[in-house]
Symmetry: C2
Subunit: 293 residues, 2 copies
């Protein structure tokens, strides 16, 4: 990741004079932040109409959208030229969340609808010749509309979750873990809504669940379960996705603003500050998760 490479060179340049290997080994590690950014891919975007119909024909394959994530190409050793997670430094005058938000924003120009600490990775085996590095990793969800821009930059490119290139450091395992967390969390949390826009039809939400869970869910029961949760509010609008009967459009309105399982997330204060700093108040409103551990 970027921060890994950076620290590597920082150590070299700064001339701290590591006398030998053992001295360097026992020195405290550097810290950085990385982000696994997830968004629904363009495969079966309902907007694209035709794709939807023909993919439904396919017997065996799942006609679901896939998850995509942006990676950045490393411009330094180790792993020069290899794809890696977006990352950056930890600033001590920012919260961890803010640092993660900043890393996300500066590499992808996206604004997440969800941001949560994933895990902190460390240990000697992940340096690969660089300086020892502890990475506080966050994972983020980006809404459909935002992610639709999908402007692959020169050093940033989106990849589907199941067709990842070789990755630097232990970033492959980190991504796998993020996907695991997402798949786990979708069953008892509201994260699915964060991959769509602020409003959505039940069929869209159903599609997200199926895409992420990887199994097909009875639409009728899904509908009932969702509606009985009381967290979906009918906007009154109707939208036609295909050529048939229009579907009701819902908005996610958490009834009990419970915690997500991580501290700091009772409110989105960290995000709020970030959003404010960047004059994007809408992000603020979108980020008030409600779920259980």
């Amino acid at each position: 990741m970027l921060s890994d490479q950076k620290e590597y060179f920082t150590g070299k340049r700064q001339g701290m004079g590591f006398g030998n290997v053992s001295e360097r080994r026992s020195a405290p590690p550097q810290v950085g932040v990385s982000v696994v950014i997830l968004a629904l891919g363009p495969d079966d975007m309902p907007e694209h109409g035709a794709t939807q119909a023909e993919s439904a024909e396919t017997g065996a394959g799942t006609p679901h959208s896939r998850l995509w994530l942006p990676l950045v190409k490393r411009v330094r050793q180790p792993f020069l030229g290899t794809w890696a997670l977006p990352g950056g430094d930890l600033r001590s005058d920012w919260s961890l969340e803010q640092s993660a938000y900043s890393a996300l924003e500066s590499t992808t120009a996206l604004h997440p609808r969800y941001l949560e600490q994933l895990y902190t990775f460390g240990g000697p085996e992940r340096s690969h010749g660089g300086l020892p590095m502890v990475s506080v990793v966050y994972w983020a969800l980006v809404g459909q509309a935002e992610a639709a821009h999908f402007e692959d930059g020169d050093n940033v490119r989106w990849f589907p979750e199941d067709e990842l290139p070789p990755l630097a450091f232990d970033h492959r395992e980190i991504i796998d873990y993020a996907l695991l967390r997402l798949r786990s969390k979708i069953e008892y949390s509201d994260v699915a809504t964060r991959l769509l826009g602020p409003t959505f039809t039940l069929r869209q939400l159903h599609g997200v669940y199926e895409a992420i869970a990887g199994e097909s869910l009875d639409l009728a029961n899904f509908r009932r379960k969702m509606l009985s949760s009381g967290d979906l509010e009918d906007t009154g609008e109707k939208v036609r996705e295909g050529r048939q009967r229009p579907a009701a459009v819902y908005r996610y309105v958490p009834q009990l603003p419970a915690h997500t399982g991580t501290p700091h997330e009772f409110d989105g204060s960290g995000i709020a500050a970030m959003a404010k700093r960047n004059e994007r108040k809408d992000v603020l409103a979108a980020l008030s998760p409600s779920a259980q551990i």
Copy 2:
């Protein structure tokens, strides 16, 4: 942006002399590790026999054991003299888990039966005049027998979870979060067994669940549920706790060695290394969790 950031920080670090407050604020924070250590308290230790019977008489109060945790008294500013979580430095030649294990062991001389990363805390608001600090926090469970020693040292003391003294920094919130995680995890994981010894009766296990969940569970149903999980193996032994019929003794034997929700825990390799280093192989065997996220 990232490269801007990098140069920025590189320049700052090089001199090592932080000129003023704003420069110090933007410098990268230090990293450390802390541990929330939990064990069942001596309140209603089944071994003590008599206590068990009389506490059952008490109508309103819960006769359950309480959770206790060891705290250390700070010998530096800020918060000099205040109780705080055990902690230590991160060594770059150790895994995070090993560093946590080491911090735990060196302050309490205990060997945990469970160790898992809790969360990483950071941000400017937690310094309180000290250096900016990022704390990778682990939580640990210690078995009944181990914890029974309970030798309060000069600077280490055990406190019951519901009678904590004022704590340094944000350690109170950290502990609360650890308890939240424990209470959440006990419902779908095997963590309860880690608070007892390697073998236990169903009644003992039931007691742990009640103590942690805070609600009373039907013993008959609890028994069925546990046995039907297939993770309990009858050792064939019988033990009398009171003066009545002896109870069967079980051992926890996870059927599917699934993951706990955190990476690195698929095996207890980090712990294994630590245990080996300290010539305590039994710890190794005890640490192979099986649960879900």
